[in-house]
Symmetry: C2
Subunit: 169 residues, 2 copies
């Protein structure tokens, strides 16, 4: 139990939480396992859970171009990133905010053990302990804001490349 | 005062706040005015304030390509959006999260009246009333997450366009 609390303390989403608040988060988490190669989530599906990797490695696949394969499962033109337990990686955390489509697919590369947390369980805990809710939401908003800045930078780079190509064409 | 509370109730950032919590937000807001043509914020400057438009119209300018003008003020290759008091538009709200560079420049098109809120004042109120802090942060995280999804869609469109051009080149 203490080891689990120590693990969660290192997760950016739970920064500045007190030990008893981490304990409350731990109470609503379920340990789940995925065998190697299992699909954990599919881009486009509506999700209500987030995950923290405890053991193993996953591959995150995100479409880079509009997918014209009939079933949307073509691996062409996707960007792949690997996440593993070393950094206690979190994924699916946007599902804590509301029911929305997953922005990437995630597949287990090795056998994986994860903590799973459901949005409704988190919102109940946040309603019982608004300080916990405030701190997690501040952390999450900062994480999403940093990602938005990177996405904006990507847009600027891509538009610059397109603009150069159009001038040269 | 009641009119001001009614105005703030319509702002997405303050959704689900009780009237007395809106009142607490109002207590830390300052009414500020900007004459037509004044620059309210500059892309790249570090900001600590957010704004809600009460009267007037502003123009938001965001660089679309890497700016090669010597002073970074070239209007070429920027995207311009107008915001006005009709929708009680908010801008600069990422500054509530942390000290980071502004992601766009904003100029008053007409004489403007705005509410200004400083990050430190907001964080003090949130520390006094975590329920208020939780609700504002949940709203802000949802707003930023929606913007991230749009930015991701833009990336997919731009990458698709680039990929088509590279195949045709």
């Amino acid at each position: 139990m203490d080891k689990d609390i120590a693990t969660l303390t290192e997760v950016a989403l739970f920064k500045n939480l007190k030990a008893e608040q981490i304990g409350r988060i731990l109470d609503i988490m379920h340990k789940v396992t995925f065998p190697a190669n299992e699909i954990i989530m599919r881009e486009g599906d509506v999700g209500s859970t987030m995950y923290i990797i405890i053991e193993g490695t996953v591959e995150v696949a995100k479409s880079l171009v509009i997918d014209d394969s009939s079933d949307g499962t073509s691996d062409k033109n996707k960007v792949f990133t690997r996440l593993d337990c070393g950094e206690h990686a979190v994924f699916g955390e946007l599902a804590l905010l509301e029911a929305r489509k997953r922005t990437a697919s995630v597949r287990a590369v090795t056998d994986c053990v994860m903590y799973e947390m459901k949005r409704d369980d988190f919102l109940k805990v946040a309603d019982d302990d608004y300080e916990l809710g405030f701190r997690v939401m501040l952390n999450l908003a900062r994480i999403v804001s940093a990602r938005l800045r990177r996405a904006d930078e990507d847009t600027v780079k891509l538009t610059t490349a397109l603009s150069i190509m159009l001038h040269e064409a």
